[in-house]
Amino acid sequence: MKGMTIIVKTISGWVKVLIIMFGIYITLTGHLSPGGGFAGGVILASAYVLLMLAFGKEYAEENLPIPLASKLESVGALLFALVAIMGAISSGSFFVNFLQHKEAHGQALDLISAGTIPYSNLFIGIKVGASLFLVILILSSSQYYSPNRPIDGKEFK
């Protein structure tokens, strides 16, 4: 799959920036406006799916390799669990919003406010985006595990 025509490639090259910016915005302002980590992660993954459709699978894989995507997914999940455990350490109960009632923390409706909620949104966004990109890449590429390609098997270790 070498990708689509030059028109599609040019347009997706412009549009991908807007989609990625929108995904980051939805992820970061999940505590202020509708959205959040799950929705933002899906939008980020859809930007890479657009790249995959327009430029071919190899181009998308060069931009976000499969080992990096699986590492991002695991790191996002671990950091989200770490937020919960930090609440347990600092306040004695799992998932306590331990940053909320500090004096140095921002007011309500600020970008940095609501304690641990923006960080949880960020980590969930990383995790969901990487994992959806990974599963779409693996599911869509029937060529990926064909016997014609060289077998090394090291990417999933």
Binding site: H31, A77, F80, I117, K127, V128
Partner: protein
């Protein structure tokens, strides 16, 4: 609360039997027992919505797993036993219909929130104290990432497990060739 612990022991025993048994159909039925025991446990923990979800998922999963386990179609019965089976099925359907009518009589009117009738419900607390307690202007986010963050952790875990399953099943190299490198 004793019946809760009895259910928990029952679920644990069913899980051990499901892992240890050699018969595939017995294992599938034990998995179903785990699911229905779990849904009853959710009901005792006063989470009826999750109990309903659990029951639906268990029924669907049990049907699919039994169809996958039993390769051929079920045999048909005929004669007197067929008549008996039809009568029993109709009686059971009628009893379930009566129970459903009684349940629908207790439901609030369409469009009426349930917590309007219960002033000390948890959802009222979320609405009135969400901004002060969490600082999040979006009340949905304050619920899913602060008040009920356990749910979100569960969803993230489900997604993580699903991705791991897809990655493992669709990988390029089989497990046997990883264990026995012949190159």
């Amino acid at each position: 609360m004793a019946i809760f612990y009895i259910l928990m022991v029952f679920v644990i025993i069913a899980a051990i039997v499901a892992v240890e048994t050699k018969n595939l159909l017995s294992a599938v039925i034990c998995v179903g027992a785990i699911g229905f025991g779990g849904s009853l446990m959710f009901l005792f923990l006063r989470a009826p919505d999750i109990a309903i979800t659990q029951v639906v998922v268990e029924v669907l999963g049990l049907i699919i797993l039994i169809r996958a386990t039993i390769a051929r179609d079920l045999t048909f019965i005929s004669g007197d036993r067929e008549f008996f089976g039809v009568v029993v099925s109709l009686v059971i359907i009628f009893v379930i219909f009566l129970a459903g009518v009684k349940v629908f009589e207790t439901l609030p009117d369409f469009g009426t929130p349930i917590f309007a009738e219960a002033p000390d419900a948890a959802s009222q607390t979320y609405i009135s104290e969400g901004l002060q307690n969490t600082g999040a202007a979006n009340i949905v986010t304050s619920v899913i990432l602060d008040f009920r963050a356990y749910d979100t952790l569960g969803e993230a875990t489900v997604l993580f497990t699903a991705i791991i399953g897809a990655t493992v099943i669709l990988r390029r190299k089989s497990r046997k060739s990883i264990e026995e490198p012949d190159e």
